[in-house]
């Protein structure tokens, strides 16, 4: 009987612990879901893949929740998993088959009444980048992480972050119409 009572108490304690973990995790999920989805979308380039990447990443975060939560770096940890998940997609057979198809599922384009041409150029450029370089651009310019934070997230050197950003901006300048250059017209004054 004693053993049974002990086991019941242990099981009960585990349930309480799991319920607390679930409540904690749910609060995080509710607060960050929309923002995480936006980042996943920018990393992957399409809505469905973004959901896949986000679900797998959140599952891994859930498994490590007790360990990660105490470090106070949940967002950074999750970003790293998301980038790894996305970088790994191309290695998987199903993804290669998906690429072989002619029709790539895409959400309806986001209409931007203020788009002067630069937004489209940026998006096309980001889509054309290799996954790792794309992650650098998204984390640096969208998430506005520092170069050191991007390097830490991606497990690469600060120098690599700098060079990837430099290359991306240089390519963007080449592809952007002259009248959209930030300093266009200054030389005429």
């Amino acid at each position: 009987m004693q053993a049974t009572a002990g086991a019941s108490a242990h099981t009960g304690a585990m349930r309480v612990g799991e319920a607390a973990k679930d409540a904690d995790f749910t609060a995080y999920l509710e607060a960050r879901r929309a923002s995480l989805m936006r980042t996943a979308y920018l990393l992957t380039g399409d809505h469905h893949t973004a959901e896949d990447v986000l679900q797998a990443s959140l599952a891994k975060l859930y498994l490590s929740w007790d360990k990660v939560r105490d470090r106070g770096s949940v967002d950074g940890y999750l970003r790293r998993i998301m980038v790894n998940e996305n970088n790994s997609l191309w290695r998987r057979g199903w993804k290669r088959r998906e690429h072989a198809a002619d029709i790539v599922p895409e959400p309806p384009p986001v209409l931007d009444s203020y788009d002067d041409g630069l937004s489209r150029a940026v998006w096309e450029l980001v889509q054309s980048l290799p996954r790792k370089a794309r992650a650098v651009v998204v984390l640096r310019y969208y998430e506005q992480l520092t170069e050191a934070e991007v390097a830490d997230t991606l497990g690469i050197s600060v120098g690599t972050v700098k060079s990837q950003c430099h290359r991306a901006l240089a390519a963007l300048r080449d592809r952007t119409p002259d009248h959209l250059h930030p300093r266009h017209g200054e030389e005429q004054r």
């Binding site: 959140l58 060079s163 430099h166």
Partner: protein, 403 residues
């Protein structure tokens, strides 16, 4: 705000606008927990298979079997390998390879070179003619290769600088040549005894993002018309396939249709380990490709993703290396790399950040922890180890690139 900052801001704004109106995700806690259960099941299955393989190998060796001679009948976890542990902060036994710490190059024997590179040292390799090849970050933020004079009395004077594509330095099996990619992707090889780098054929069929994997052969400067058996071949992993550039003046895609990546090539160039697939929970499947006969071996799967042949090719070290920091280091059978011969457990709190073969029996393992501390341990092929060969500190150690 300068033009660069302005454009960077506008890129951020443009990306933010792109996500406006994005349909919200419907993911719930139940969805997440369901996916987590699947991952946990697969991890348990993989772990069980790994333990069984380790026990099957270690028990016959008898390294620790005597200690297990009690009446325990249930399955036992794999015992750790024998350890020549020393105080991790002592720095016992200097490494037999060059390394960099805080921008200073430390050569075997104790000599130091300070090349004065503000961008730090990302990677380094030494040549028998006393030159040190360093990958660094230039003032413009781009990668550079800097050749440093490592001769006595030269004090680390810079001899030459080359723009570098984002990638890696790789060295041939005899340690006489080091290769990298120029900014435009052209492969260059610096050979001991030759002042200028040799240019190999550029990878003309765009393979996407390139990562150099291996350099095989001793003389990249050999006349392309010379007989078979001379020259060199550079292997690189592109996105979804491996490509080669030969000093005989051609490039090609490695004939390994099932492969989607290339883990390593043996120093003799007779076999390669190719990546075949990777699952959601980071289970990697590989096979050995016989580069002479062109045949592929049976696929093997597990949690190891990064494979490294020893200088003679007699041993292969492997570990999990995917972003979050590498894990335990295993030594696998070169003929059948799915067979784990010994495993070294990463010290608590540390992750594996890189490895380099010190000689054919010992691996130097660069370890990092969450607080940014780094140290280097020496691990023998039987799984025994010597901790703190380079002492713990905030150094970001970089150990010399070896074959």
């Amino acid at each position: 705000m300068n033009q660069h900052d302005d454009l960077a801001t506008r890129v951020g704004d443009a990306l933010a606008r792109r996500t406006d109106g994005l349909a919200p995700t419907t993911l719930t806690l139940d969805d997440v927990k369901g996916a987590a259960r699947g991952i946990r099941r697969r991890r348990r299955a993989a772990l069980a298979a790994g333990v069984a393989a380790a026990v099957a190998v270690l028990v016959p060796i008898g390294v620790v079997a005597a200690d297990l001679g009690d009446d325990r009948t249930g399955p036992q976890p794999a015992p750790p390998g024998p350890t020549r542990a020393v105080d991790p902060n002592v720095g016992d036994g200097s490494p037999g390879l060059a390394y960099a710490a805080d921008g200073v190059i430390h050569l075997p024997g104790g000599r130091e070179l300070d090349p004065g590179l503000p961008g730090g040292i990302n990677q380094l390799a030494t040549l028998p003619d006393d030159r040190v090849v360093v990958a660094t970050t230039g003032a413009d933020g781009n990668q550079q290769v800097v050749v440093v004079d490592g001769a006595d009395g030269a004090d680390g004077a810079k001899q030459a600088t080359y723009p570098m594509y984002d990638g890696a330095l790789v060295m041939n099996g005899t340690g006489t040549s080091v290769a990298w990619l120029e900014r435009d992707g052209t492969p260059l090889v610096l050979q001991s005894g030759l002042e200028q780098p040799v240019e190999l054929a550029a990878f003309d069929d765009d393979p996407g993002y390139l990562q150099l994997v291996a350099l095989v052969g001793d003389d990249c400067s050999a006349d392309p018309e010379t007989v078979e058996g001379t020259g060199c071949t550079l292997y690189a992993a592109g996105e979804g396939r491996a490509v080669v550039s030969s000093s005989h003046g051609f490039t090609d895609v490695l004939d390994d249709p099932a492969a989607i990546g290339l883990a390593d090539v043996s120093p003799a160039g007779d076999q390669a380990i190719s990546l075949l697939s990777m699952t959601d929970d980071y289970e990697f499947c590989h096979h050995v490709l016989d580069l002479v006969g062109g045949t592929a071996g049976t696929a093997f799967c597990g949690g190891l993703s990064s494979y490294h042949y020893s200088p003679s090719g007699a041993h292969v070290a492997a570990y999990f290396a995917e972003g979050l920091g590498g894990g335990d280091v295993s030594f696998v059978d070169p003929g059948s790399p799915g067979r784990v011969l010994a495993t070294w457990r990463t010290p608590a709190g540390f992750a594996t950040n890189g490895v380099a073969w010190e000689d054919d029996e010992h691996l130097l393992v660069v370890l990092i922890d969450d607080a940014g501390r780094s140290r280097v341990d020496r691990v023998a092929v039987d799984g025994s180890s010597e901790a703190g060969v380079l002492p713990e500190g905030r150094h970001s150690y970089v150990v010399e690139t070896r074959p």
